[in-house]
């Protein structure tokens, strides 16, 4: 496995660059959309301490998305701000499950968001993120490996937070248990897409950018099984489509329209 020390070096091999770029878009877009959905909870979380905690996690996660967009910028993909705000849905590589609306209604009017969906999704997300990051710490692309190590020092707090929530709710009232269970089963219908590395999966593994899909899936199942009891018996599926291949739902359009509203109003504004 060839170690690549700089973005300049990565640009010299077009097939390496393609696999690396694809991986970075997946990492960036996942963090980006999950933080957007998180930001929609601002002021609406179940209690004030949760509001502080969740917005802190969300802000930090948005910072992680920025790190990957910055690497993409260095690789010649365009400015980080443009990559975040101005790419059409079919170019987005986040898993479709992560773009799903928080619930019925909208932020400004009657936000009937579902906390069970959020707890389950955030727990699944953070577990998956940690498994992926750990694999990336030995990535052949050194700037990415160093970023993963740094992100892991912070992300561990995020995972601990959502693990506590899911464990306590499953240990709580019958209603809480049922609602968590229902959302877990729903997640199972989407997680095949979450665990996919997309069209460049094989090259990513071959170039030593990240471990293979089956290894990541095994690690992830092991970790979620520690907190979600029992795990659904159904097979993992991708009912909302393959986000990793650019297939998305209407929910992503809603998210992109809202989050880029200010950006669209004046694209040349300097921040």
């Amino acid at each position: 496995m060839n170690v690549i020390e700089t973005t300049k070096q990565a640009k010299q091999d077009s097939s390496y660059l393609k696999a690396l770029t694809e991986l970075l878009y997946q990492l960036a877009d996942d963090d980006f959309i999950i933080s957007y959905r998180g930001s929609e909870w601002l002021g609406l979380a179940p209690h004030i301490e949760e509001d502080v905690a969740y917005s802190s996690i969300t802000q930090n996660t948005m910072g992680h998305a920025f790190l990957y967009y910055q690497l993409l910028e260095e690789l010649g993909e365009g400015a980080a701000d443009v990559l975040a705000h101005d790419r059409p849905p079919y170019e987005r590589r986040n898993a479709a499950y992560f773009e799903k609306k928080n619930g019925d209604g909208s932020y400004k009017e009657e936000p009937y968001y579902d906390w069970a969906l959020t707890v389950v999704r955030q727990f699944i997300y953070e577990t998956f993120k940690q498994v992926k990051l750990k694999a990336i710490t030995s990535s052949s692309f050194k700037p990415l490996a160093a970023t993963a190590e740094k992100v892991l020092t912070e992300q561990t707090y995020h995972l601990a937070h959502w693990k506590l929530w899911i464990e306590q709710l499953q240990d709580s009232t019958k209603e809480a248990k049922t609602r968590i269970q229902t959302r877990v089963e729903e997640a199972w219908q989407e997680c095949e897409d979450v665990l996919s590395l997309g069209a460049e999966a094989e090259n990513m593994e071959q170039f030593g950018l990240i471990s293979g899909e089956s290894f990541l899936k095994k690690q992830w199942l092991q970790e979620v099984a520690k907190a979600i009891k029992p795990l659904p018996e159904s097979m993992l599926d991708k009912q909302s489509g393959s986000g990793r291949l650019g297939e998305h739902t209407r929910d992503l359009n809603q998210a992109l329209e809202t989050l880029s509203e200010v950006y669209e109003s004046d694209k040349s504004a300097v921040w």
């Binding site: 905690a53 802000q59 930090n60 910072g63 790190l67 707090y157 601990a160």
Partner: protein, 170 residues
């Protein structure tokens, strides 16, 4: 002789950078927080290599600008470039004694020493020094701080989070 001049210049620059405070923690210098990793001088050009406490911190841009400006105000400096690097990890041990003192004055406890990853932690109260404290919220007003409460002097306070080190695959 050249080496001596270079060292003098570096010392001068450190003194200048020490005047730059963390924008979220007035009176706590970025040098004392352990964020300055290296200062290199090439004739009239200075490059400063820094490590962020938290990568997702929105204050990094401000810190970068303030350090750049402070260094460029030195009369013999033409240009200063500031770079945040992840090649080296920030750690709790990087905070100097002066940094810890200033943090406490600001009502923020330094991160706990001898922290075991995954275990719960508390720190002594920065106001009265009591260890009779409890964790209110691991997440605070900024990514790098938590909210605690002191039962002895009945004050809420903040503490810098310990960073969780990963040493897998090495």
């Amino acid at each position: 002789m050249d080496k001596m001049i270079e060292r003098q210049k570096q010392e001068e620059l450190y003194t200048v950078i020490k005047t730059v405070d963390d924008p979220e923690l007035p009176s706590v210098s970025v040098v004392d927080l352990g964020m300055v990793r290296e200062v290199n001088v090439h004739e009239n050009h200075v490059s400063v290599s820094m490590v962020p406490t938290f990568a997702g911190c929105p204050a990094l841009d401000f810190i970068e600008l303030k350090v750049k400006k402070a260094v460029e105000d030195v009369d013999w400096v033409d240009e200063c470039t500031v770079h945040f690097s992840f090649q080296h990890q920030w750690s709790t041990d990087s905070i100097t004694e002066e940094g810890k003192y200033q943090l406490k004055k600001h009502g923020v406890a330094p991160p706990p020493e001898n922290y075991i990853p995954g275990e719960e932690w508390t720190v002594d109260c920065p106001f009265c020094g009591s260890s009779y404290t409890s964790m209110e919220n691991v997440f605070g007003p900024t990514a790098c701080r938590s909210i605690l409460y002191c039962t002895a002097c009945s004050n809420p306070f903040e503490a810098m989070k310990p960073v969780i080190k990963y040493s897998i695959n090495h």
